[in-house]
């Protein structure tokens, strides 16, 4: 059957290659999804602007290295700081004023923020793509037998796991983390208990955006074309990854990221005819998951009080 041609004549080598591709893409999704899920976990709102924060971080890196010739390791630190600040600012401007507003207003505000960032980038940096600075150390190729892999693709999963552990530590074993969990459970109570909600939420955004920056750097090195709309698709897909894993659940985000990354690669690997539909895959998975397990794979079920 012609349709399954992909399945039949796939050599072991290409399959291995596909797996490698999938894992490297998946870990990238996972890395960005963590930031998403963490913000959602605390605020119970989609930070639509997350993808665009990633985009901005890429531009920061570009200006740091290509324009101001700062060595890349310094630049990256700078980028993370700058992006974290950006995140805090966005929270201050777009979300804090709506703290007690209906959910939909917050959602619209989030969409507005992302739309604003895109247009701002478009206006400031023009629509012309810029090339993410090349870091030979990370972008070089490594060949394992017939399997080719980029150095960065080995780094990404490590970074992902590290950030995962760090984040888990922060959330579970630090005072801030405890406060965060309190806020996510019920911020009226948290307020009464004397937690400064605003600081905690700003903190959440700072950490989330820092993660976005790390993700952006990895993304930029792997896919070095920077445009104002760079963040849109990764943003959506990583959100979907977070939902699949169970939004608000940090481990879930990682799981979701890998499912999505591998899925996207393998669907094309097995059914080359469907390559044009690849971007639809993420959404279809999303809808299936939402249908059968609205709270995601690792998310706990909730019942409404009447």
């Amino acid at each position: 059957m012609e349709f399954f041609q992909g399945l039949l004549n796939m050599s072991g080598a290409s399959f291995a290659q596909h797996m490698v591709n999938g894992i490297s893409l998946g870990s990238l999704y996972a890395l960005i999804a963590i930031g998403y899920t963490m913000v959602y976990g605390i605020l119970l709102m989609i930070n639509f602007a997350h993808g665009d924060i990633v985009m901005m971080a890429c531009y920061f890196a570009y200006f740091g290295i290509t324009i101001f010739h700062v060595p890349w390791y310094f630049t990256f630190i700078g980028v993370i700081v700058a992006t974290a600040l950006l995140g805090a600012v966005i929270e201050r401007m777009a979300y804090r004023p709506l703290r007690d507003a209906p959910k939909n207003s917050v959602l619209i505000s989030a969409i507005g923020a992302s739309f604003l960032l895109e247009n701002l980038a478009n206006y400031l940096f023009s629509g012309r793509p810029m090339s993410f600075p090349d870091i030979p150390l990370l972008s070089q190729n490594i060949a394992v037998g017939s399997i080719k892999i980029q150095a960065i693709s080995l780094v990404i999963p490590v970074i992902t796991v590290i950030s995962l552990l760090v984040l888990l530590h922060i959330v579970n074993h630090t005072k801030t983390g405890m406060a965060m969990r309190a806020v996510s459970k019920d911020y009226e109570i948290a307020r009464v208990m004397g937690i400064n909600i605003d600081n905690i939420i700003s903190m959440t955004f700072i950490i989330g955006s820092a993660l976005a920056a790390i993700g952006a750097i990895m993304w930029g090195i792997r896919y070095p074309g920077i445009t104002p709309y760079l963040g849109v698709m990764p943003g959506l897909k990583c959100f979907i990854a977070a939902v699949i894993g169970g939004i608000g659940n940090i481990k879930g985000a990682v799981l979701g990221g890998f499912i999505l990354g591998l899925g996207e690669i393998l669907i094309v690997a097995f059914f080359p005819e469907l390559s044009g539909y690849r971007d639809a895959f993420a959404f279809i998975v999303l809808i299936i998951i939402l249908f059968y397990r609205p709270t995601g794979i690792l998310g706990e079920r909730t019942t409404e009080k009447v």
Partner: protein, 382 residues
Amino acid sequence: MKKLMSVLLVSALAVGVLTGCGGTKKDAEKSDVIKIGVFLPLTGDNAAGGELELRGIKLANKLHPEVLGKKVELVIADNKSDKAEAASVAARLIERDKVKVILGSYGSSLSMAAGNIVKTSKVPAIGTSCTNPQVTANNDYYFRACFIDPFQGTVMANYAFKNGARKVAIIQEVSNDYAVGLAKFFKDAFIKLAGPDSVIEVANYQTGDKDFSAILTNIKAMNPDAIFAPGNFTESALLIKQARQLGITAPFLGGDTWETQEFISVGGADVEGVAFSTAFDREKATTAEAKKFLDEYVKEYKGEPSALSALAYDAYLIAIDGIKRANSTDSVKIRDAIATTKDMEGVTGKTTLDKNGDPIKGAVIKTVKDGKFKYIDFVDVK
């Protein structure tokens, strides 16, 4: 209170629309200027191409500021790489600014969106680099300065065949009209040359995709002699980069969109040795106009001019030439004159428009060498 504000806002905007947005240029009918409208994507996906073409047009206007003793004034409008915008902008140029001729746009679909408007309001338009045959097909008021995809596709197919390719793979940006059209013409032409099953795979990706490892891994397994990958320069550059990383050595072939600095800056060393068809190169700068263009361009903008700028420059010349021969500022007369353009000496050679309003001109094939675009070959129409 809010309500009051709202009412004020409404009226303010409404007034603004009727006066402000429309009447910004009161001198619509000054007799000593001829207005030429330029609608190009200056923001959005196609901004890069748009800017390059704008350079060409501005340069042309600098070198040929007058016609029929009147000053030529450019009215530049951004169509945001968006069709709805393109249509509004075209209407605005015609109705508000009373332009006699329209130049643009980069991107065939954008040009097509304006097609109906120029047709119904009888103002001639000259496409700069919209290579899709549909633009001028059954539209008497649309012309263009560039060759069209069927020709471009055939050229690349011949080139591939001449260089020993017998089985090729096509990777097309499936959501890009330009890429899909070009891929089709290439496929037809190549199958004619190398037999029915010489195109072993047609893979698709969407505009904005960043990861191509999956389709590339599939194609690697088929190991084709060459890969034809028409599409936006950003995506194409990333595609080629990843192909090289996966150890695909087959040469990449593409279309004229690749000739932008971004293609090289994003693609880096990996895009060395690709081949693509385009309209112009220094090597073929035979005409006097071309010399002038090259010198001025280098002075004005530093760096080598791209074919896009050259084509835009020629589009302007075609318009001026038409107005001169029509010896009138009446759009319809100008249109008739443009339709009969013959051996108009421009930067990309002598331009003669056929009955569709498409120029009969050859194509240049270029490659990338040491981070620069390099001339390989010239293919004339046979």
